[in-house]
Symmetry: D2
Subunit: 413 residues, 4 copies
């Protein structure tokens, strides 16, 4: 099976005159596979532009060349969706716990929209404006206050005319429903994505019921992102799909999991793993793990398939390569990648050339190179959720006394 | 201990008037720590611009924005050396086994020099032109022919006036000596770096003796790069240092290891691991592993400390953060990184805030998340080296028959 | 907390005049902890007296000294129950697939009863006669035929006047109910133990429902044995207990798990693990794992706590040591064991003496010493159950042709 | 290849009139394979008759039936040597650190000789009297005093007329030489076995030199036992053999390793592993590992091949089965063991029958079932040796103050 690289996805040297791309719902209604992008905060943290801890996206305004380059790499890898780099760009989050920024939320959101649109126009991609959960909700502010926070981000998205909207990374379906209600007012297509697993949201609402609530609130696409590995996320979206269908409703489905293996997670996902966020390397999925993920997601009836934290461009390329038969073409970046290791046919060493075959990589059980380390961890969540004092927003930096208390408590958990 | 970020290393928004940077030998003679960059071929393969197998650097001419961005990220992370992205850019290698390129070796080498210089000028960095081992040597071409290959790349480096030269990634000290002899003729400082471990080169020459030969050939800096993890590479350079000192010679020392844990390697390094090159993810070093590496290398008397395959910008930043007390400043990218996890003080979840401390990360044994995988592999090298028919250069693509033979042989190894 | 060793459990040099021991139901009704013994077939296989594959107990007649010694070791370790070594001693099983024996089922069953009684009389133990699942059931023989098989074994137990009866190691609750119905006719107390996990029996009957059926059939004690590790077995018995209580019934509970860690099992348990039965060593529980097991079982309300395959005398001793506070005494074998490693206070090396403490052993994560091996396996069951041709009884040895077919099929599973 | 079970090795029901067995040196001179037994202290600790910590063999007098049974199991498994159960039975060791015994050293040594002889006479086995290292030597007592300690044990061996003598489990070659000098005076054949690895004895004397000294002192058989896994022990004996041959001397070679995988040991062996002695389970060798061990040892030119701590009867049987072609017969216990899993041909489940083949078991990588545990540990020896205050003999029990000091020190190591 041979595919030519997508002609309209070439970036850099070549620009093609083009019509506005088909909308997200038209694509999904037509049964197309829509490939999402990967996780910007984690990728840019490793590149030196995002601070782990606050995880805020000021790089959109501060270092646009870095954000633009990452967008391009995902586009080149096969993404059809450029999500604006606006994760946690609500004003309440931007000033949480002493995170001092020289840009306003509006500046960051505007810059992010411009970058996403610029690169989307270089290929066949849509721009999606995104909002995510807020410290305000965790601090028990009112529905009105929380909705006002979303509204503020939304004003920028409308001004910049994004193609559709995603409410993503919500641990509580209640807050996600509020977000969807705000987003729906714009008339744009709305996707809603929770960061929950098979056990459901932080209040114990099961995935199926979560999905039903989101669809009833107006989301046309529902699914999950972040917090769990592909296996777990696909399983969760399946439960959502069953719930929606059982309720006699209709929706499209999306999944954007971690690129980390997390068989040892509890309900709050990888946040609770001792390795989060600076020791996750041994868990990173290979490109071959991604082939399996893409196939599983497709077989589960999911058609908006992307990634979240840990996804690098080559992970998205693997998704696009696995689904090339369904899509009919390979992504641009496949010009630098022989499918299933075929590029190794050109390697100098004969025993490496011998690895240029699918069954070799499909059956490999990659070693960790870490004989002193285990294969699983015990998650250490403290079981607190919305409303708990520990989760209240705090503008000031965490004090030394507060830290000492935390260190002491962590020993007893 | 508090450090300000390096004022002259800020990139993007700010450009500072500056004098030409101090040369590599002056820095090392003065006892300064010189921080190298990371591995471009592996990083750019994951970003979609380099093909695994041939591993050639045509992206310098083809996608300069991607190469420039990676240079900038390493600069921002603390690198003092921008190596020209010219690995394997000798004409014989560029046309090996059906690797069809639309750029000549000269075009690639020139473009790479320009990019390295452009970014070096944005900070306090030197440009190093690099040559590496050739298919010609493996195919038993004469000293004269092999030297002519190096000479061709060198002409570009001289025309572009690089600051110093590195002969790196040599498995046979004999070929490295030839390279050093060619490089020395330019009058530029010369560094020589083998890709060997404690067992020595592919002909069994021990590290100490390798180093002596290289120093006698004129290299002012000797060391190793690639093929092994930091622990093994530092150990090997120590053996080199002992050899050089025992011989009554003097040299500076460099080390640029893999960012992969490889306790299970044999003499040919990670090439022989079953995971090479598409299943190495579980072996990736964390930033905390890098702190240990930087300290070990420094304690061993090595002062040119960088990275090779697998090193991402945040790995180099960790090296720079560990050696900030010695260097007197933090790298620019540390504005987005609290030392030893301090940024987590701003995290929403209290149990994640409790991880904002050095002893937590220093003692973590990160799980692989892969219970079906082992912690070590059995390397599968075939024990062939220079002159063996299996290693001869071949312009044409590997044929299906050749591949079948390899697959069959791989089952019996 | 100090305990004297049980005065009446001393064996060998000392025999005490004694009354008949209190019956099993009287003990359980009084809230006593009853400690079972360990798995004879696995222990005696390693000692050279049982053949893995048929797993038949002819050693009771053939090598009585070996069986007697093992009984004594379990008694000394704290067991209150000497199960007759009559596992798989039904005539249909004894002649399955070419297993040529020189003893009849009756001879074996009688010898086993005598040995159990002899050793039980040396301490405070009861004799339990046991029957287990039959090839006849798997081969779809009638209820009448299957019951006749049990009856034949039972005649010996009655003649030898065992203290109570156990129907154990049943994969199908239907067959276990038949067994209980036969055993009940004797008027002896009856325990029923399935080898199922949380997913229930091989026909999918959940643990709670299984337990209810067994209690209704007349079993006074219900629980599980074999096939799964302690964690899983305790969980399963909890589900049984919930089922029984929900049905408004009453019962006592027993658990006799494997001494192997089996987190990777599917519904058929360790039989399906690739390591069964000759590669299970790395999974063997430590004595400290047994402390945890004993406490968990006790906390779950289980009072008949023993072991099955893999349990050696020191495992049972650990159970008895953990529950010494509840029982009021230590087992005889504790004269050779300092609780929680206290015996190490006498070790020559100071760093080993430093391990003489509870928190050291409780927190140890013991390494496998096998870096090329994973921590979990993929079970390889073929999903066949009662009635499938593959499970039919066959008196003749498996033929070479039959084996070849199996080897071929195993490659596709 | 079919072998009959050894006719003269049948125990229990059958006793055969027999001539005195051929001596150890005659056997080795004739090129026969001599199979040793396994480790009594560890096996009997698990059966409840030996106390871990002091590890003294009072069970020979206290519980003779248990010791006799273990001898029989090893005989039945193929052992040609019944070592008297006299490990650490020197008077100075018997009263070390509060180990209160009701038997004298002489009583224990005599009882052990009688048991070994009784069982040896049931088959084709020799009785070997053993002495091992003494607290006196570690406490720097004089050569004369140390030799007097050995002499005392020896008097019993001579009175009981053992067939040959073994000085085994010595960490310092100097003390072993003293022992050999004492043993030589009896005129009996003398074997000498150190518990050292490739790095040599605790004073750094390399294996080759150790062996030369022992041979010069009069040992006819030299080798190693305990402290390391088979792989390491065979490697060490090879080094001994090279040393002896290089010195122009002649000797026979013996090896009796641990049945634990110890790739992570330093020079003092498994004592330093955090799992010693109560968490070693995951490291236990399978019977298939033993096949490999036996073949490696044989190929290395070793002809006295046995086991030490961790060896159970089935491990010795595996050695005897692997070397059946060389020996010409299978051990008695093979009547209950199909070679390479052949007994599984009789298993009920077809997928287990499919495991009845050599390549299945030879290639199995057995999982640990412990995803939270690593595959290797960091040894924690304190680097103290002979003469250090920490190792001095002490008759009184370790005090609470002494223990507290140890616990504190262990945290800083």
């Amino acid at each position: 099976m041979e595919f030519a690289c997508s002609p309209c996805a070439c970036v850099g040297s070549l620009r093609v005159l083009r019509l506005p791309p088909t909308g997200i719902l038209e694509r999904l209604d037509a049964g197309e596979v829509v490939i999402g992008d990967g996780g910007f905060v984690f990728a840019l943290e490793k590149r030196g532009y995002v601070k782990a801890g606050p995880w805020t996206p000021e790089a959109a305004a501060e270092h646009p060349e870095a954000v633009r380059q990452l967008h391009r790499e995902f586009l080149r890898a096969g993404s059809n969706v450029m999500q604006t780099f606006t994760f946690y760009a609500s004003d309440d989050k931007l000033e949480n716990r002493g995170n001092k920024l020289t840009f306003t939320g509006a500046q960051i959101n505007e810059a992010a929209c411009d970058l996403a649109r610029e690169v989307a126009n270089e290929g066949d991609a849509l721009v999606a404006g995104g909002v995510s959960q807020t410290p305000s909700y965790l601090s028990c502010k009112s529905e009105k206050e929380v909705k006002a926070t979303f509204k503020k981000q939304l004003d920028v998205f409308i001004k910049k005319n994004v193609d559709f909207l995603i409410a993503e990374y919500f641990e509580h379906v209640e807050e996600a429903v509020w977000a969807v209600e705000v987003l729906k007012e714009t008339g744009k297509p709305v996707a809603a994505s929770l960061c929950v697993g098979p056990e459901g949201d932080m209040h114990g609402v099961p995935p199926g019921e979560c999905a039903v609530r989101l669809v009833k609130a107006g989301a046309q696409i529902v699914g999950v992102n972040c917090h769990f590995d592909p296996l777990t996320c696909v399983k969760t979206v399946k439960m959502m799909k069953e719930g929606v269908e059982k309720a006699g409703l209709k929706a499209h489905y999306m999944v954007q999991p971690l690129a980390y293996h997390t068989p040892d997670c509890n309900c709050q996902g990888f946040i609770d793993l001792p390795e989060f966020p600076f020791g996750l390397e041994p868990r990173i999925l290979t490109r071959w793990d991604m082939h399996k993920y893409a196939r599983d997601a497709y077989n589960a009836g999911i058609r908006f398939i992307g990634g979240c934290c840990g996804f690098e461009p080559y992970h998205i390329r693997a998704v696009a390569e696995e689904l090339a038969p369904e899509r009919g073409f390979l992504p641009a970046a496949s010009e630098k990648h022989g499918t299933w290791g075929a590029g190794l046919e050109m390697h100098t060493k004969p025993w490496v050339r011998a690895r240029a075959r699918r069954d070799y990589w499909e059956n490999l059980k990659p070693a960790s190179g870490r004989p002193l380390c285990p294969s699983m961890s015990s998650p250490d969540g403290w079981g607190v959720t919305k409303g708990h004092a520990d989760l209240l927003q705090q503008k000031e930096a965490t004090t030394k006394d507060q830290l000492k208390q935390l260190f002491d408590r962590s020993k007893t958990h």
